[in-house]
Amino acid sequence: MKIKTFFSKSFPIVLLTVLTLPIILGFLWILISTFSTRAYGLLPVGPDGKFGGLTLNNWQFLSDKAIWYVTLNTFILATGLTIGVVAVSAMAGYSLSRIKFPGRKGILSLSLVLHAFPSATLIIAIYFVLRWISKIPILGNGIPLLGGFGYNTLGGVILVSIALQLPLGIWLMKGFFDSVSWDIERASLIDGSSRFRTFREIMIPQIKPGIAALSIFSFIQGWSSFIIPYSFMTSASKATVGTYLNNLLTESAPVNYGELAAVGLFQLLPVLVFYIFTQKYLLSIFAGGVKGTS
């Protein structure tokens, strides 16, 4: 009996350990590489091929102004993406969950199709759209901080990222709104509230866990995004951490894997810390998402 419970308890742990081993080794390699001139497997080695060669040189990029610039850019991108996605998704999700209007079913299924659409296939089309937006005065490329919403601006990248993130966000928010009782909303309307005020003061507080989850998810998405900023922000000064990382790879000089690992870890750290404190909410994203049937 005791052996059986021991086995049934340890078996999942062993299985999970084996399955996650490649990832864990990957992380370990990154961590070790950042502090060594050269790594032989997981072993840092010196020029003589023996253990040694530990160094902090790989972290020198931190003294470079550029990295802080791209970090700020990435932060703006992630924050803008989060605010945009949450605001639009919450309102769209509420409407789709609560209000009957022509085209409701259509929007729901269309957004689901968009969600399944690989974003890489849209890049060329989006490029033309952004080029067109660029031609609009001020809105195109005359806004401080964001640069604008056209091609080669941070705002443009945010705009595209929001659009691609919306299907997931809308369905998620709809799922959460679906699970809020109608009676609360009716009570609020009868108590004398307007529809919008009911949305803001009564409905939003009920789906706080959903909003938290979507915010975290979007923020992480924005922080680690690569394809979109890489495609639509060509000038290096405007790049994000993701593209900065890529620049290290594409240079004609031999790749310094130690530095590459250090930048990677630098990008990873905020996400890891963030994740540890917010995984409770992230779990509810999947629980809440399941409910999202029309």
Binding site: I184, S188, I190, S193, I202, Q206
Partner: protein, 358 residues
């Protein structure tokens, strides 16, 4: 406030949830909408509240057609079955919310909330969240929230069905007393006929979206206009039999399938020329007797405290009646049944309408 529903109809897709409902509710009256689940009573209430828009017909408050009015302009308070308290607000905030929406001064909101809370005996719970309250307390908060804005109409949507039996009786009398004291026109939706009978001035019985009867509780009980009302109202439910009418020498009798017969008094003579009709009699109007009566065999005895509900069979027919527990009756005993003939009800088998009262 007077409320008039005029040919009110609501369709959901092709289904008619409420069909041509016409009701006239007097100022200060307590009206119950009674019916089995899915009969359209809640839909009717939500139309009065302004949540649903009627497909056809009119809702008239005093002299205004309010079909297109927003809920907030109708001066109504509503208590929900689920209480529908705002979970993220304290009891105080819940009570104060309607007044905040009306932009009343802060001091007044404080005083009014405390007054309502004290009236309902929840004054000491002001800082709690709804999740920390018992069902009965939540119900009181919901009631307070409906009352605080001094509505002209109070709507109750099965407010007591989530409470335990004891609490239900206390809350029942409390709501009734509050309504009488405040004199607010009230509409009360319920599927529980006891609730409707004890609380309401008049009861509107609905079935499949159609109004069956709209009258006071006593009339509803003693003079049911349709077969459905006769079956639905009254506890235990009315006995119903198919009988054949036979007239001989001016004396009308009803003959059961088994061949037994009873005489129908002149005051209860059914207005029909048909031979086979439905006869009904309530269990409390049948008694066992030592004299002459219908012979039957007891199937089983259900003690109900004050009375015993006794089920007997007379041939193929089951007859339910109430008897004093002092009279010892056991299963398989033979009893003679005496019907109180002045309580007989008759219904047409096809139209299901009463042959006495319509």
């Amino acid at each position: 406030m007077k409320i008039k529903l005029d040919n009110l109809t609501k369709h959901f897709g092709k289904v008619a949830a409420v069909n041509d409902l016409t009701l006239d509710i007097k100022d200060g009256e307590f009206v119950a909408l009674l019916g089995p689940s899915g009969c359209g009573k809640t839909t009717t209430m939500l139309m009065i509240a302004g949540i649903y828009k009627p497909t056809k017909g009119q809702i008239i408050f005093e002299d205004n057609i309010v079909n297109q009015w927003a809920p907030k302009d109708r001066h109504i308070g509503m208590v929900f079955q689920s209480y529908a308290l705002y979970p993220h607000m304290t009891v105080y905030q819940n009570l104060a919310y309607p007044l905040i929406l009306k932009k009343r001064p802060k001091e007044e909101i404080k005083i009014e909330s405390q007054k309502v809370a004290d009236l309902l005996g929840i004054g000491h719970l002001m800082d709690r969240k709804p999740g920390q309250l018992s069902g009965g307390q939540q119900q009181r908060v919901a009631l307070g929230r409906a009352l605080i804005k001094k509505p002209q109409v109070l709507l109750f949507d099965e407010p007591l069905s989530n409470l335990d039996a004891r609490l239900r009786i206390t809350m029942r009398s409390m709501i009734k007393k509050l309504q009488k004291d405040l004199g607010i026109t009230s509409i009360y939706v319920t599927h529980d006929q006891v609730e409707a009978m004890t609380m309401a001035d008049r009861i509107a019985v609905m079935k499949d979206g159609v109004l069956q009867a709209f009258t006071d509780p006593e009339d509803l009980h003693d003079r049911p206009r349709t077969l459905f009302v006769a079956q639905f109202v009254g506890n235990p439910p009315m006995n119903l039999f198919d009988v054949e009418l036979k007239e001989q020498d001016g004396i009308l009798s009803a003959i059961f399938g088994s061949g037994a017969s009873i005489q129908i008094p002149n005051e209860r003579r059914p207005k029909t020329s048909k031979k086979i009709i439905k006869m009904g009699i309530r269990p409390q109007d049948i008694h066992s007797t030592n004299g002459t009566g219908l012979e039957s065999v007891i199937s089983f005895v259900e003690p109900m405290g004050r009375d015993n509900l006794i089920v007997t069979s007379m041939g193929e027919l089951d007859i339910h009646f109430l008897e004093d527990p002092g009279i010892k009756l056991n299963a398989d005993d033979k009893v003679k049944l005496k019907f109180d003939l002045n309580t007989l009800q008759f219904f047409d088998k096809e139209t299901e309408l009463s042959l006495l009262w319509t």
